[in-house]
């Protein structure tokens, strides 16, 4: 059973939406959920961060891990909708260079 709400857009892109905290407890769960999408043949993925109020280095590590797995499977991974604080964390860690956030999942998916 999927722990995070997931939807499929018209172009087949999967959108997964974790909520509240992406910390050392939630991060492995998100990685596992994304891995099961990839195993099921869905390697074009958007992580919708609009419901995330808190992210730490464990959460950032999970995003990088998911990005690598999607690319290894021939797909890609994008992020959408981060709050101002999550954007600050992405910037401070330079992760915004490889995970450039866009406002909505639909905008992110259209660029695949």
């Amino acid at each position: 059973m999927m722990e995070f709400p997931t939807r499929t857009l018209d172009n087949g892109v999967q959108v997964i939406r974790p909520v509240q905290r992406l910390n050392m407890v939630a991060a492995p769960r998100l990685s596992a959920a994304v891995e099961s999408l990839i195993t099921a043949g869905h390697a074009r993925i958007v992580i919708d961060l609009s419901g995330i109020e808190f992210i730490d280095s464990s959460g950032l590590g999970a995003l990088v891990s998911c990005l690598k797995k999607a690319r290894q499977a021939g797909g890609d991974l994008r992020i959408s909708g981060p709050t101002a604080h999550v954007q600050t964390i992405l910037k401070l860690t330079n992760l915004d260079r490889v995970l450039q956030p866009v406002p909505t999942a639909e905008i992110a998916a259209a660029a695949f």
């Binding site: 905290r21 910390n23 050392m24 407890v25 808190f54 992210i55 730490d56 280095s57 464990s58 950032l60 590590g61 999970a62 990088v64 891990s65 990005l67 690598k68 604080h85 600050t88 964390i89 401070l92 860690t93 330079n94 992760l95 260079r97 490889v98």
Partner: protein
């Protein structure tokens, strides 16, 4: 009227991943007492405090042979111009180089915690005291001019 002098909150928990949420809750209870603290300060402080708690939890088992279970004591203090977190744990010594910590490669999956902590708050101090590790995290209010 004079401002309330100082507010503090305290927590003692085993160093386990499931207790990280208790640290988040303790921070939230401090904000309930100090609702005037700017949101950006709160989020930076909370992230830095959680990173230190993560570090203690992650390394508690590996470094602490002989200690049945590492315990974290956390005290949060808010004054008019700053918030401070004081951690004490009975795990083994932390192998930490705060001054030399750098952000790893963007594609690294680990190793950002300490560098991120230093980038978020005004001061992070680690010291070994007897058989305990002491961490102090300080965040000055950004809307108050420095004396």
């Amino acid at each position: 009227m004079s401002e309330p002098m100082c507010r503090s909150r305290q927590l003692t928990v085993p160093a386990r991943p499931e207790n990280i949420d208790a640290v988040h809750d303790l921070i939230a209870s401090l904000w309930a007492q100090r609702p005037e603290l700017p949101a950006e300060n709160r989020l930076r402080f909370e992230t830095a405090v959680i990173e230190v708690a993560n570090n203690i939890v992650k390394h508690a088992t590996a470094r602490s042979a002989g200690v049945p279970e590492v315990t974290i004591e956390l005290t949060l203090t808010a004054t008019a111009d700053r918030v401070t977190a004081h951690f004490r744990d009975d795990g083994g010594p932390a192998d930490i180089d705060l001054a030399g910590s750098r952000m790893p490669d963007v594609m690294a999956e680990y190793g950002r915690g300490i560098a991120l902590t230093g980038a978020l708050v005004d001061e992070v101090i680690y010291e070994r005291s007897g058989s305990a590790n002491i961490w102090t995290v300080t965040c000055q209010r950004s809307d108050r001019s420095q004396p």
